[in-house]
Subunit: 346 residues, 2 copies
């Protein structure tokens, strides 16, 4: 019997990107006519079936929510999933999880697969590669076909849907104001490259807080770490970058890190340089995970309330799914961050 | 149009368990005739469609692996998923994840949902409730219908399938021998209740190692923690239980904990009692997660090689999926544990 051909196989066979195949099949004018025709002919020949999401939606409800996240070894995302599950259970829904692994192609493929009759709607956080490529056609198509999406944390203005975000800008300001009020004069930020929106907003909050306190910003105090160093597997390279930061700023007395791994690693570097925490140097992290709580000294942090984000996202999605009438209005819910004070600050 | 009724809805409507519905639909003699007839009539009336897994398997390959795990906020399971993903990507498969939340019902419901055309086979670790109830009919049925299962970590002899396990018994022995060789004379184990097989095996390894070293085991040194205390939300109750252990054993000089949260919490208790680590008391944990690596002092641990377990499980499953002939032989692969020495032991 004939196997069903997938987007991925068509892309490989014709040596074009998955995005190109997907757009060609929807007859998008973005793709040259030649390519479009080739893709469509191939798809027809091999019996490719595009999702008939709208159709499946009318025929049955799966009462299942599809979650798409960039990675699973991540405390924040696990907390969000826990929040989604809590509400889903309460309201009689199941949850399945797809992983993009920060890859655009995997995001498209897995969303296609899940949308194909397995789920009623998506809760998702966008992969880094998708943010870099700024190709959001798969979100638009999913929504256009009648399947609602709720985005959280990593969201984009270009897609019209319900969103749950953290006030990263204010959260960052809270952290810097706390450091300034505790006597810090030379505050560094350890952040990610700018294309990850949350990193960018946190950097902006840092700059704004400095400005409001008449402290001039210095380029040498802003460390934008290569994203690949977020992973557990590259701790040494991360440590070296932070050591450079310490060497270039002898008077460093405060560090704000946009995730807890950066903060914990920076505390380790401080110990290496014989600086006492919090006497000589103070630290604040972002995301209240297990590392922050169990670190010695325990880490003062900005909590994003991952579970609350998940709960809110699930409620938004299920509300939309259970509303009888078509409703084209969307809302963006902002979850407040909270400063959790522990031993790493005065 | 008629909505598709689910197992869960039938169970709720008729006020019986999901397991009863599932067994009745398969006409299992375990269920009384009355109940069976009632369930079957209801299912027919509301157009319930049982999985036709075998059928869907013949029609198409999804090239997707379904993972069922008990919980997601767990470093070991995340590492296993990473391993599965690595191999799946290499061999052209996708991965989706379902969560049982340690609940039998959710395990049955989610497996049913995933098996319904979304995936080609399962990699799974059994929920605690399923282990307690010893009801494995959903695994048997999945396998009987031609969909392969690979179990890892929490496995049972009653189900015939490929399995990937850790030598928990030997791993535990390694830990205790290390403590004994480093001079410990009063070694406690902090473990889980026995129905979780891995906890039981680790306790047995502890007892065996003591015996081989002519050290008599003492009941007061074996702390079997209530499972609900594994969660981050019950740290205080866990701490109190461990404080009792310390109070009852003034000469305590070694602690082996079957997971890293227990170990980290025990180190915290030791600091409270002004005991120096590793001078006065030494600690070894199980599972090499972020907490162990970043604890102060860093924690000596038995690594289960979660990623390797995932890789092996994925290879076993994909091998089975891609074999043309029906193959009824199964293997159990044992992944060796490794002692990773850090600062919490001499």
């Amino acid at each position: 019997m004939k196997r069903k051909v997938t987007l991925k196989q068509i892309a490989k066979e014709l040596d074009v990107s998955i995005s190109t195949v997907s757009k060609s099949l929807r007859n998008s004018k973005e793709i040259g006519e030649d390519t479009r025709e080739k893709v469509q002919a191939f798809a027809k020949l091999y019996n490719y079936k595009p999702n008939n999401i709208a159709l499946s939606l009318k025929n049955r409800k799966t009462r299942t929510i599809g979650i798409m996240i960039p990675e699973i070894v991540h405390h924040f995302f696990s907390k969000v999933i826990r929040g989604i599950e809590l509400i889903a259970n309460k309201r009689g829904y199941n949850v399945i999880v797809g992983l993009s692994n920060e890859s655009f192609d995997k995001e498209v493929i897995n969303m296609e697969m899940l949308a194909n009759g397995s789920i009623d709607g998506f809760i998702l956080s966008i992969s880094k590669e998708t943010l870099l490529q700024q190709d959001y056609h798969h979100f638009h198509e999913t929504i256009n076909q009648g399947m609602p999406i709720v985005m959280f944390d990593r969201v984009v203005n270009e897609v019209n849907c319900d969103k749950v975000i953290v006030d990263d800008f204010q959260g960052s300001k809270k952290a810097i104001n706390k450091l300034i009020n505790s006597g810090c004069k030379n505050i560094a930020i350890i952040t990610t490259k700018d294309y990850v929106n949350v990193g960018k907003l946190r950097t902006q909050g840092y700059l704004q807080a400095l400005e409001e306190n008449q402290i001039p910003a210095k380029a040498s105090l802003i460390l934008k770490v290569d994203d690949r160093l977020v992973s557990e597997d590259h701790l040494e390279a991360l440590e070296q970058e932070i050591e450079q930061l310490f060497k270039q700023n002898k008077k460093l007395d405060g560090v704000f890190a946009v995730n807890e791994l950066y903060a914990i690693t920076a505390m380790k570097v401080a110990r290496k340089f014989k600086k006492k925490i919090p006497e000589d140097i103070q630290f604040i992290g972002y995301t209240d995970g297990v590392l922050s709580k169990h670190a010695t000294p325990s880490l003062t942090t900005i909590s994003q309330h991952g579970q609350k984000i998940g709960e809110k996202a699930a409620d938004l999605l299920i509300d939309k799914l259970e509303k009888d009438s078509e409703d084209d209005s969307y809302q963006t819910v902002i979850i407040e961050t909270e400063l959790i004070e522990r031993e790493s600050t005065k």
